[in-house]
Each structure stands twice: as structure tokens, then as C-alpha cells.
């Protein structure tokens, strides 16, 4: 997609909610050897994750995040003109969860809502939708929620994802104001890699059946069903370290900024090895990179905003933030924006 520039649109408030249930990586000795666990922690950085209980949905985490914004900022329910819910784990296949959330949150009936199916790039995709709608005079405040309960579609015994993925739900309100200045987006899609990150069955292509629910052992020792997510780490890594530094360079050139002018990097928390490599290859200052994967694992589309909430004390008014993410597909992109009067609220638990 073309590079896109916006004027005077920005994030007004941001909140995040994680499940109370903490799973320590070192506790998974029923499934992995202590040596394999230590090696995993060293490479990924993941010490622990938050995983939901069976009766908790991504929308519950997002709902609590939205209520926090209404409770702790001057943004009112009636201010919201549109709500976008970005998730791979909606409440139902139909109706869309954004429709449920409009009613549950008591938003006005003129609210426009969309469900968006995006994975790790979900936040920047949702933001671009919000920014685009906000160019119209009919929209003044757009709520973007990103939530995923990947633990519900992950096998703990899958070598690629079993210790990697965590659950979270975020909410932000994006609005208008001269204080936000210019923002820049670069969004890209290469759908030739869908087998690299996929939940093979349970959709229309391969409907759920007794067969798709059967757990099998694979060549690498992974044990999972066709209704568990598969991630081929080397495929993602190879694509990411090739394309993401290039995308960062392209966006910075478009924005007329150097990497040194950026104050903080809020990159998708895929794993430390990959994030650090992208920083190094982009000739970026590693001290400016925000981290949160140690506490939450890879939480897909929520990871950038959750990382900002986790590091809220580090982010100052008028900081220039560079965001970068890659998700299933691959869908990937980079965003450069100014944090003006954004209220980044304290992380909550559910």
C-alpha cells in the first residue's frame, strides 16, 4: 500500500487489561526439559505470560479497558462515533463482537462498528482505519480495541507457540487536535505466506470435525490439533528481518526523519531475538526500544499498545514514537506518530 500521511489526528487515551492468571515459563516442566525452557527464555525473553480462564473472552479484557478510559479520562460514552474491534478470537463467529460491545458499553446507536480479523499487526491496522475515518468531519472520536485470547487456540505442547503466546485486551480512543501534528503510516501485505502462521481448521475451508479436533504428534515433537494455531518461526523471522528494516527506512524517508530523531520504538513484541535484530539492522539505538515481552509473552495485535502501557512512565509528552509489526499473512507495517496529550492509563487485571 502507498505511504499515508495524516495531520492533526492522534491517540487521546490508551488502556490495557491482562488476565490475573500468571503462567511462569519455568513452570512448564511437564512439557519441556529445564534446558529447553532456559534456552527459550534466553532467546525470547519470556519469563511469564497472562492466560485467561475458560469463561473469559478477548472482548471482556477490551471492555474493562474501555470502562477504564470512561472512568479515568474526560472522554464520554456519547463522544464515540465509531468502534473497531480487532481480533482473531471473537466471542462468536456471528454476530461481530464490535456489535456486542456497542450495546454493552452503552454507546449511541449512531455508532459505526467493524470487526477486523488481523493478527500481530492488528493495532496499527486498527489505527489506520481510525485515522482514515477521522479525516471525515462526521467522525470526531474513534475507539479501537484490540484483543486476543490466543491461549484458547494454542497447544501448550506446540514447539512454536506453546510457551510464546499470551492474552490481553487494549482500548484506545483516537481523536482530532492540532497538538498531534503529522503522523505517517506504511502498510503492506504479502499473502503468499499464509502457511507460516495459520489456524488451519474450524473455518469454512476446513470445518470443525472430530478429525480436526484430534491431537497428533508432528516431526518436530509438537503435539497439536488442526484447531490449534501453527507458527513456523524461521519463516516469520526470515521474512521479518528482511522486510521490516526496509519498511522502517522507507517510512522514515517519507516522513523526512532520521532514526535518531525518534524518541521511542514501540515494536511488536514477537520475541527478543527478532526485535533486537530488527533494531540492530535498522541502526536504531537499542536503549530507545520499549520492552514488555518478559511479563506477557507475544500477545499478537495487543503487544504494541500493551508495551506502551507497561512502559507508561517512560513515554513523555511530545515523544516521537516508531511502531512496527508483522502478523499472519504476512501483513506488516510501520507507523510514526507524535504522543501529545495521550492519557496512558495504568495496566489493569481481570
Amino acid at each position: 500500500m502507498a505511504l499515508v500521511k495524516f495531520n492533526n489526528i492522534g491517540i487521546k487515551a490508551l488502556s490495557a487489561t491482562v488476565p490475573q492468571n500468571v503462567v511462569k515459563t519455568r513452570s512448564l516442566t511437564d512439557y519441556y526439559t529445564p534446558e529447553a525452557i532456559e534456552k527459550f527464555i534466553e532467546a525470547t525473553g519470556i519469563e511469564e505470560r497472562r492466560l485467561v480462564q475458560r469463561d473469559q473472552c478477548a472482548s471482556d479484557l477490551c471492555y474493562k479497558s474501555a470502562c477504564q478510559i470512561f472512568g479515568e479520562t474526560d472522554i464520554k460514552r456519547e463522544d464515540i462515533d465509531a468502534l473497531f474491534f480487532v481480533s482473531q478470537t471473537p466471542d462468536y463467529k456471528s454476530p461481530g463482537t464490535s456489535i456486542i460491545l456497542q450495546d454493552k458499553l452503552g454507546l449511541k446507536k449512531s455508532t459505526l462498528v467493524y470487526d477486523v480479523n488481523m493478527s500481530c499487526s492488528g493495532f496499527i491496522h486498527g489505527m489506520l482505519m481510525a485515522y482514515s475515518f477521522l479525516q471525515s468531519p462526521s467522525f470526531n472520536n474513534v475507539m479501537v480495541m484490540v484483543g486476543d485470547t490466543l491461549s484458547k487456540i494454542t497447544s501448550v505442547q506446540d514447539k512454536g507457540t506453546g510457551m510464546l503466546l499470551g492474552d490481553a485486551g487494549i482500548c484506545c480512543v483516537i481523536g482530532k487536535g492540532e497538538q498531534y501534528g503529522e503522523s505517517f503510516f506504511s502498510m503492506n501485505t504479502d499473502g503468499s505466506n499464509i502457511q507460516s502462521v495459520i489456524l488451519p481448521a474450524g473455518g469454512s475451508r476446513i470445518p470443525s470435525s472430530e478429525e480436526t479436533l484430534k491431537v497428533k504428534e508432528y516431526e518436530d515433537g509438537s503435539i497439536r490439533s488442526l484447531e490449534h494455531v501453527i507458527m513456523v518461526g524461521p519463516d516469520v523471522f526470515s521474512f521479518a528481518i528482511s522486510e521490516l528494516p526496509r519498511d522502517i527506512k522507507r517510512l522514515l524517508e517519507y516522513a523526512g526523519k532520521s532514526i535518531d530523531e525518534v524518541d521511542k520504538y514501540a515494536f511488536h513484541q514477537a520475541n527478543d531475538f527478532m526485535t533486537n535484530y530488527i533494531v540492530k539492522k535498522s541502526k536504531a539505538n537499542p536503549d530507545k526500544l520499549l520492552h514488555s515481552i518478559q511479563k506477557y509473552g507475544n500477545t499478537a495485535g495487543t503487544s504494541i499498545p500493551l508495551c506502551m502501557v507497561h512502559n507508561r512512565e517512560e513515554i513523555k509528552s511530545n515523544d516521537i514514537i516508531l511502531m512496527n509489526a508483522i502478523g499472519a499473512g504476512f501483513a506488516y507495517g510501520t507507523v510514526l506518530l507524535n504522543i501529545a496529550d495521550c492519557k496512558i492509563l495504568k495496566r489493569q487485571e481481570l
Binding site: K39, F40, A43, K159, G160, S196, D220, V232, G233, P234, D235, F237, S238, F239, I241, S242, F273, M274, Y277, K281
Partner: protein, 75 residues
């Protein structure tokens, strides 16, 4: 980079496997330490040393270090 140097660089990405176990005809995927994380290290090493991209499919398509070296050279 010559093949023998490549074998040495490849071996450096492994923590536990002794360096002498790595030869041009070593079937690297049969090593106990081979896995998703070592694959990432090798992809990164090739990116840095050769400025070339190898994919997960590339790694799956070859067996020995020499075959991998030749595949990198052909890119």
C-alpha cells in the same frame, strides 16, 4: 566466504554441540541441538555474513552444511 569458514561460523551458533562435530557433510537437522531457535540464529548469521535471505523452506530443503552453503551461494 569459503566452505570451511562457513562450517566454523555455523558451529559458533550452537552452544552445546562440540565444534568438532561440524563438518561439510554433517546433517545439521539430526543434531540434538537443532530446532526452531537455532534455525533463527542461522538465518540471522546468513543475513549478516552473506547479506542474503534464507527461508525456513530453504533450511528444510537441504540436509548437509555443504548443501546449505551451495544454496546460499546460488542466491
Amino acid at each position: 566466504m569459503e566452505l570451511n569458514e562457513f562450517v566454523t561460523r555455523f558451529a559458533e551458533e550452537f552452544d552445546e554441540t562440540p565444534a568438532e562435530q561440524f563438518k561439510a557433510d554433517t546433517v545439521f537437522k539430526s543434531l540434538d541441538e537443532w530446532g526452531s531457535l537455532t534455525a533463527l540464529s542461522i538465518i540471522a548469521m546468513v543475513d549478516e555474513e552473506f547479506e542474503k535471505r534464507i527461508t525456513g523452506a530453504d533450511l528444510r530443503s537441504v540436509n548437509t552444511l555443504e548443501e546449505l552453503y551451495n544454496l546460499i551461494q546460488s542466491k
